[in-house]
């Protein structure tokens, strides 16, 4: 029982981290139609910048400055790269971000080398907050939850209670109408892109110390972010939140409990074959849930696209 | 009386709470030229979209040659001999004019999903497409990308695509919208020429075109047909005068 509580907390941390990436991406995606493949690369940049800053000025300055730098870089990419490519259509935009992801990874290796960076949890937070049945919950995780929730609340406030937020929301659904109302849509695009990438940067800053700061960190997270927003429904912030948490919990629980495929198959009335070593389906029988935990979101996405193309909370068909 | 080409019974459509089409009964005979007029927002285009299954109706039936179209996809309806054009030009802008027309001929000529015929080898396709291009006066433009044509030419091409398949029920959605006088005359003549002997249903704002073309006119106001009759009688109908026509006629003169 205690383990369930611990898993819920862990899944929450994973989910909220994913949410910080998917929130920015879903805004960018639904507004500009850009599948930003480089989104996770900005997350990586956030971690690297924060590491570099933390060496000189400490963790907290890194938390403050790195997302800003990433946001400015993101806005620059939109202004000088994407905007130019935008006129050619969506596929070139996608290829652009794809190439950008490739280039950022190479540049990171060029600048910081290929090894993992010794970017660590700050001393103040390096203690066990509390323990449940021998499982310690590090204070840093509580800190991560706190940061992500404040960002979500902040984002929700800006989007629903401010003028800028209203315009963005309108632009999500009716980009052309908003433009014809005289708003500077390119500027909004640039702003949203900058804020979205800055959010990814924040995620990188706080995830770097626990998940590792290395050149492959973007690739590991890359496509799962898309999966999240597709499951949640394009353009829906709530959808992104729900899908992120869903994925966080599904993967956490699948890893924590060894559910065996053979048990499931036996459960639905298929008996285990006698001679397993000769059976061509032997590998299917030996699958366990931790083995496939990280591909469960993809299965979920394909099913959702088949049966509910608009996603859980989406209004538009993707 | 023979089966009507198109028959609508109790057709209704709501978007959310708003009822756009509020029960339409209409019967259009074979080889009849029928125009649907009405003020903006009356639901003319929605009516078109309901007939061609672009949207599913909330209730009611659409029958083509006596056959119920419920549950059919647009392409299946097209194969039954109903073809339409769109209010906003809807062609294949990246393909050449010739190819636009040829694509419209493929199904009608029985090629279906063939991947063992070469389109360029088929004389009937080439000749058929050229004949259509000749009819719509675009023979000289045949090798240009359709997107580079002038607006009137694109509208003509759209009509060409619509009639190319040989459908016997043709639906045109504002074929002359946004055109100058001379262009309007050109399109009107074109429509007269290419729909010879076919059933034509058109939505049109230009009363000159309507009265020049139509055998009968239906007036659609707020999702309901308030009158269906010959042009002369519609013009004289006081209800129509009141609701719509008067103002439109005044504006025209």
């Amino acid at each position: 029982m205690e383990l369930i509580l611990v898993n819920i907390i862990d899944g929450l941390v994973t989910g909220l981290l994913l949410f910080m990436l998917s929130a920015g991406l879903t805004l960018i995606f639904s507004m500009m139609g850009v599948l930003n493949f480089a989104h996770a690369s900005f997350y990586m940049l956030g971690a690297y910048f924060a590491y570099q800053i933390s060496v000189a000025l400490g963790f907290w300055m890194g938390l403050l400055l790195a997302p800003l730098i990433v946001g400015v870089l993101g806005a620059g990419v939109e202004r000088y790269g994407l905007r130019r490519v935008h006129q050619y259509g969506h596929v070139p935009e996608l290829i652009f971000t794809f190439g950008l992801a490739l280039l950022i990874e190479e540049l990171v290796q060029f600048l910081w080398g290929k090894n993992q960076m010794p970017y660590d949890v700050p001393e103040v937070l390096n203690f066990t907050a509390f323990a449940i049945a021998g499982n310690s919950i590090p204070a840093y995780k509580i800190f991560m939850i706190f940061i992500s929730i404040s960002i979500f609340i902040g984002l929700l406030y800006v989007l629903t209670k401010t003028r800028v937020g209203m315009i963005i929301q309108a632009a999500l659904s009716y980009p052309r109408t908003v433009e014809s109302l005289g708003h500077n849509v390119p500027l909004i695009f640039m702003g949203v892109f900058g804020v979205g990438t800055a959010l990814a940067g924040v995620a990188g800053v706080i995830a770097g110390p626990v998940l590792g700061t290395f050149p492959g960190m973007a690739f590991v997270l890359g496509s799962i972010v898309f999966v999240t927003i597709v499951i949640g429904g394009l353009g829906s912030l709530w959808g992104a939140l729900v899908a992120s948490l869903l994925i966080g919990w599904i993967t956490t629980f699948a890893k924590s409990y060894n559910i065996l495929m053979s048990d499931i198959l036996n459960g639905i009335g298929i008996s285990t074959p006698e001679n397993m070593s000769e059976n061509i389906f032997r590998d299917l029988w030996s699958i366990t849930s931790p083995q496939i935990a990280d591909i469960l979101p993809y299965i979920l996405m394909v099913l959702i696209l088949i049966f509910r193309p608009a996603g859980l909370f989406g209004k538009r068909e993707s | 009386m023979s089966t009507p080409a198109l028959e609508l019974k109790g057709l209704k459509k709501s978007f959310g709470k708003a009822e756009i089409i509020r029960g339409i009964d209409l019967s259009i005979g074979k080889a009849e030229r029928h125009a649907i007029i009405g003020p903006n927002g009356a639901g003319k285009s929605t009516l078109f979209n309901l007939i061609t299954a672009r949207f599913p109706p909330t209730s009611g039936t659409v029958k083509l040659h006596g056959e119920d179209l419920a549950g059919l996809e647009p392409y299946q309806i097209n194969r039954k001999g109903l073809s339409r054009s769109f209010q906003i030009t809807n062609i294949f802008p990246a393909m050449t004019v010739f190819e636009n027309v040829r694509c419209a001929l493929l199904w009608a000529q029985g090629y279906r999903y063939s991947f063992w015929h070469l389109v360029a080898r088929s004389h009937s396709l080439t000749e058929g497409a050229e004949a259509i291009l000749d009819q719509i006066n675009l023979l000289e433009r045949r090798n240009l990308p359709a997107g580079t044509l002038s607006y009137a030419e694109q509208r003509a091409l759209e009509i060409g695509i619509t009639i190319a398949g040989g459908a016997d029920v043709i639906m045109l959605d504002e074929p002359t919208a946004g055109m100058s006088h001379s262009e309007t005359d050109y399109i009107t003549d074109l429509v007269l020429k290419v729909t010879e002997g076919k059933t034509l249903i058109m939505v049109e704002h230009d009363m000159g075109v309507v009265f020049g073309l139509a055998d009968r006119i239906s007036v659609l106001v707020y999702g309901e047909i308030i009158a269906t009759n010959t042009p002369e009688l519609v013009r004289a109908d006081p209800k129509v005068q009141e609701a719509y026509l008067g103002a439109a006629l005044e504006a025209e003169h």
Partner: protein
């Protein structure tokens, strides 16, 4: 740059003129001759291996472009179809070896193709109902699932070692046992010509033409009697078939298939290859595949930093030449038709040669920074462009920086003249 040239790369208007559909045999004969002659020019086994790789990528890229360029469907998991075809062929090859089956090797790719098509039919049955994000994300999901399966389902995929076989146990084909690279080369070349021709012809069939129509305007196509979904489905299956053929050839060439043939990176590469070549033209992917294979293999031999250069090249292509390399070439057709292409040569030399020198200078600087940062202590000597020098002394840095600045400077100064010459060359009339 005129409008019709910098257009959206998926615009095929210039490419497949309806009126000129009569098959032009010229390019095909030249291509066939080139394939025949290549091994006499590049005789080494490694050159043959690289060419084999290139031709396989060409088939794969052409098959991919049946979806992307012709059908407007963006797939993120297309390596799966090639990989599965290859794995199936590999099992078949082992079956031939184990049971001494009388089966001529050259027919093997056909079975890979059929398997690829079978799998495409399965996935296409639900993925082709939409073209946009939905199709793309389903392809991504399916791609990830199959790639993940490759390490889980060991019986079919062989885990991370993959499965391997020996191609020489097939029935000798007119006395050829495929022991030598050159024999494999000609086998692959044969399939390349055949596949490319079939794919070209496919684009000229009713369903091939409708694929273009559905790409441009699915709704209009529906009102012409065609189900957009079925048209996409047929394109998808055809693409799966040719991907499978490429997979079969991969099995013959490398005699091993691994998880790498299925993973997301391979799917990403083929997207880049196709786009680099140009999706708007039939021959675009061919150029892309050749260019990319050379870049990856040969540049990879020269520098560890190859991926930086390739990444930068992609960004530059997508930003400045969205039509890809093929688009860049076809830009010059109007000028050529006007008989004014000759007037471009001198301005081009004046701008592009300094630009190239400037870029090489920048590359030299990058390499020097890299060497300075990551080279061994005491190992201050580095060799670049046939020159050996000390990367820790100031002179080479000054030279490289000067070359870069100088080259780019001249290129910038002469660029307006080039632009002028370009406009002039594309304006009809006037002195030519």
């Amino acid at each position: 740059m005129t409008d019709q040239i910098t257009t959206d790369p998926s615009r095929p208007a210039e490419r497949m003129r309806a009126g000129s559909l009569s098959l032009t045999v010229g390019p095909w004969i030249i291509a066939a001759l080139a394939l025949l002659v290549m091994p006499f020019i590049f005789t080494s086994n490694s050159a043959l291996t690289i060419m084999n790789q290139m031709w396989i990528t060409v088939i794969f890229a052409l098959a991919y472009n049946m979806l992307l360029g012709q059908g407007g469907m963006l797939s993120f998991g297309h390596a799966v179809y090639m990989g599965l075809g290859g794995f199936f062929c590999m099992h078949l090859m082992n079956y031939i070896e184990d049971y001494g089956l009388a089966f001529p090797l050259p027919l093997l790719p056909l079975f890979g193709g059929l398997f690829g098509m079978g799998f495409a039919m399965l996935i296409g049955s639900f993925s082709t109902s939409g073209a946009g994000t939905r199709f793309a994300m389903i392809s991504l999901g399916v791609g990830e699932l199959i790639a993940a399966c490759s390490v889980i389902i060991v019986a079919f995929f062989g885990g991370e070692e993959g499965i391997s076989g020996d191609r020489t146990y097939g029935l000798p084909f007119f006395g050829v046992e495929f022991l030598k690279q050159i024999e494999v080369y000609y086998l692959i070349s044969f399939w390349l010509m055949l596949s490319a021709l079939l794919m070209y012809l496919f684009s000229r069939t009713p369903v091939g033409r409708m694929a273009n129509a559905v790409r441009d305007n699915p709704e209009r196509a529906q009102f012409l009697g065609y189900s957009a979904r079925w048209v996409r489905f047929y394109s998808f299956c055809a693409s799966g078939f040719f991907c499978g053929i490429a997979g079969g050839l991969f099995a013959i060439s490398y005699e091993i298939l691994t998880e790498e043939n299925l993973n997301a990176a391979s799917s990403g590469v083929i997207l880049l290859v196709t786009f680099l070549g140009g999706v708007g033209f039939f021959f675009g992917p061919i150029i892309g595949a050749i260019a990319f294979t050379l870049l990856q293999t040969v540049l990879g031999l020269q520098t560890e930093l190859w991926a930086i250069y390739v990444g930068a090249l992609f960004l530059a292509t997508v930003m400045f030449f969205p039509g890809g390399l093929a688009g860049l070439m076809m830009m010059h057709v109007p000028a050529y038709k006007l008989g004014k292409a000759g007037g471009l040569v001198v301005p081009y030399i004046k701008t592009l040669v300094p630009a190239a020198i400037g870029i090489l200078g920048i590359c030299a600087l990058i390499e020097m920074i890299f060497h300075y940062r990551h080279g061994a202590t005491g190992d201050t000597e580095m060799t670049l462009f046939w020159t050996t020098f000390d990367s820790h002394s100031i002179l080479p840095w000054i030279i490289a920086a000067a070359v870069a600045l100088f080259g780019i400077g001249i290129a910038r100064a002469t660029a307006p003249a080039m632009k002028e010459a370009w406009d002039e060359a594309n304006t009809p009339g006037g002195a030519s």
